[in-house]
């Protein structure tokens, strides 16, 4: 029976993303990000979700599925289809992510050391010149969680620094890295540059 599966959808601050929490593990203690339907070939669950019109990204983490969508459909509309896909997946008994995907990822300790090395060697000495710092908080599977501090926290250009600088430096050296998540609370930063204005 899949009707008794409880799924709670929670819209995120980025309006194109919604997190669905399931009452049971889907990918226990692991996570993987799929940025396209092609990348999802090795994930039965992500494959089902990419079949929904508008779905553009899927992050599977333990008992949570974060879906990124494009298109005019509202989250209540997409959410029903996401819920149905998750229930169908659970009923199938298939793994959320094929084990071969996991095998391609370097061990977490190795990933952590290599990423920390890039931050120490290539990024933080430069970012420090603007009073900032990028900290590695955690590596889970191939998911990387960073936090921006000092002058970076709340800076209007923090996204650019992350996407155009930090991500490119890490991915060029370690292509197996999945999503790089900025966990910074930019709203409580010093906002050295950011200055809301204009309608």
């Amino acid at each position: 029976m899949t009707d008794d599966i409880q799924i709670n959808g929670e819209p995120m601050t980025v309006p194109t993303m919604c997190r669905f929490t399931v009452d049971r593990p889907l990918y226990p203690d692991q996570s993987f990000h799929f940025g396209s339907s092609e990348a999802a070939e090795m994930s039965p669950l992500a494959g089902r979700l990419f079949a929904i019109e508008g779905v553009a990204g899927v992050l599977i983490t333990d008992n949570r599925v974060t879906v990124t969508k494009h298109g005019p459909a509202t989250w209540p509309e997409v959410g029903k289809q996401v819920g149905a896909a998750i229930r169908e997946h659970v009923a199938s008994g298939e793994p959320a992510v094929d084990s071969s995907v996991r095998d391609s990822i370097p061990p977490v300790d190795e990933l952590r050391d290599r990423i920390q090395g890039i931050l120490d060697r290539e990024i933080n000495p430069s970012v420090a010149s603007h009073g900032g710092v990028v900290r590695l908080l955690e590596v889970k599977e191939n998911m990387v969680y960073v936090q921006m501090g000092g002058g970076c926290q709340g800076c209007g250009m923090a996204d650019v620094t992350l996407k155009q600088g930090v991500e490119i430096a890490i991915r060029s050296e370690i292509p197996e890295v999945g999503e790089i998540m900025d966990t910074t609370d930019h709203a409580s930063g010093d906002n050295p540059y950011y200055s809301p204005s204009k309608k």
Partner: protein, 407 residues
């Protein structure tokens, strides 16, 4: 893969939306800003430093960069970069407005003069120099009138006056605002113009080869009678009649032509009067703040995606706006001070029709009320089956929000 040059001032709301749009369009991205990036060495083709405040000085820097990394399109949609975008486009031979046209559009005196010369309806106006001993004399067109700086945006320094006494006080106040903002009397005078009564609307458009395509018309249903003119609600679709909207489109097109604007985003503000639309401002950029999030086109394209595609040369027929009523409330400052927190966000988000509440001010930020201020502390977004429903949701949600300032 085409390369897009994105001009992003460091003080902008727009970074996430533009980066997301760039990712969605599948382009190589170069971000130009007025400050050096601390990580530019990690991605030499990804960063460029340009002096936005001196647009012509951007030209040789872009020429040199494009020699190493060819650029296929350029875009920048904040006020502070629009002149630099025009210079860069000219330098690279990309279709865009001429820099002179953009400079005129940004100067309220020169743009009024062009509109009058082209017989486009706009407020009557007089220009007064700051050093003019008679700078606060009663205007020939009488009262009510509006005192307005030449280049500030977001209605900063715009004050309605109803008599000689309030005019004198407003001129002093606007002068102080301009000096504070510009660090000098860079603006050597100000406008006093006739107050145009009537509902205000905003036309969001895209110019393609001199033809204006109206993307949407926003109603501003809250009365804007002054004395200050901070924004509140933008809601679309407009409740004006079809014939009124056709008139708005015609007048907006004529205004763009009068200023020499031919390519790219425009945000035009008008008042609807008994004798037709009156142009208040023509901005050679897209709608600002986070407000563009109200709009979706075709299969869900954002306004930024539409503009990026245009910058990259896409001239396919534009998709229609997604057919739904939607709106945004720009939060007021409510007195001002040093912000401690905003209360009621969850309650506001729980109001029917509310899609999200985005607080953009941060704790510790000093917020000033209009006319000195120009920063909205946040935005509330709503959708519904009718514009009236959206408007109600926005008012109900906003009533639940309270800005708490440090004692």
């Amino acid at each position: 893969m085409p390369r897009l040059l994105l001009l992003l001032p460091t003080r902008t709301y727009r970074t996430p939306a533009l980066l997301a749009a760039s990712a969605g369009c599948g382009v190589e991205l170069t971000v130009a800003s007025e400050e050096d990036s601390s990580v530019a060495h990690l991605n030499p083709s990804g960063f460029l430093t340009l002096p936005f405040s001196d647009p012509e000085a951007c030209a040789p820097l872009v020429r040199e960069f494009a020699g190493r990394f060819p650029i296929d399109g350029v875009i920048g949609i904040d006020d502070s970069v629009v002149e630099a975008v025009a210079v860069v486009a000219r330098e690279l031979g990309l279709p865009h407005n001429q820099p002179d046209a953009v400079a005129v559009a940004r100067d309220k005196r020169r743009s009024r003069e062009r509109l009058v010369a082209a017989c486009v309806a706009c407020p009557e106006f007089e220009w007064r120099g700051w050093g003019d001993p008679g700078r606060d004399r009663v205007p020939e067109f009488g009262f009510p009138a509006v005192v307005k700086p030449l280049e500030l945006s977001a209605s900063r320094g715009v004050i309605r006056v109803d008599d000689g006494e309030s005019l004198s006080a407003a001129v002093l106040r606007v002068e102080a605002i301009v000096i504070d903002e510009m660090d000098s009397r860079a603006e050597n005078g100000f406008l006093i113009e006739s107050f145009v009564s009537g509902p205000e609307v905003a036309v969001e458009g895209l110019l393609r080869g001199g033809e204006l395509e109206v993307l949407t018309v926003f109603d501003k249903p809250d009365p804007m009678e002054g004395p200050y003119f901070e924004e509140t609600i933008y809601v679309t679709p407009s409740r004006l009649s079809d014939s009124q909207q056709v008139e708005l489109s015609k007048v907006s097109s004529a205004a763009c032509a009068a200023l020499g604007l031919i390519e790219g985003a425009v945000h035009i503000e008008l008042r609807v009067t008994g004798s037709g639309p009156v142009v208040i401002e023509v901005n050679p950029r897209a709608i600002g703040g986070l407000c563009s999030d109200v709009l979706r086109f075709g299969t869900g394209l954002t306004l930024e995606e539409l503009l990026l595609n245009h910058a990259l040369g896409d001239r396919a027929p534009l998709p229609d706006r997604v057919d739904r009523a939607a709106g945004v409330m720009m939060l007021g400052v409510e007195g001002g001070g040093v912000l401690e927190r905003v209360e009621g966000v969850e309650a506001a988000e729980a109001v029917a029709g509310i899609e999200r509440v985005a607080i953009t001010a941060h704790p510790g930020q000093r917020l000033q009320a209009w006319p000195e201020g120009g920063a909205y502390p946040g935005f509330v977004f709503a959708a519904g089956s009718t514009p009236g429903e959206v408007e109600q949701s926005l008012h109900a949600a906003t009533a639940k929000l309270t800005l708490i300032y440090q004692a």
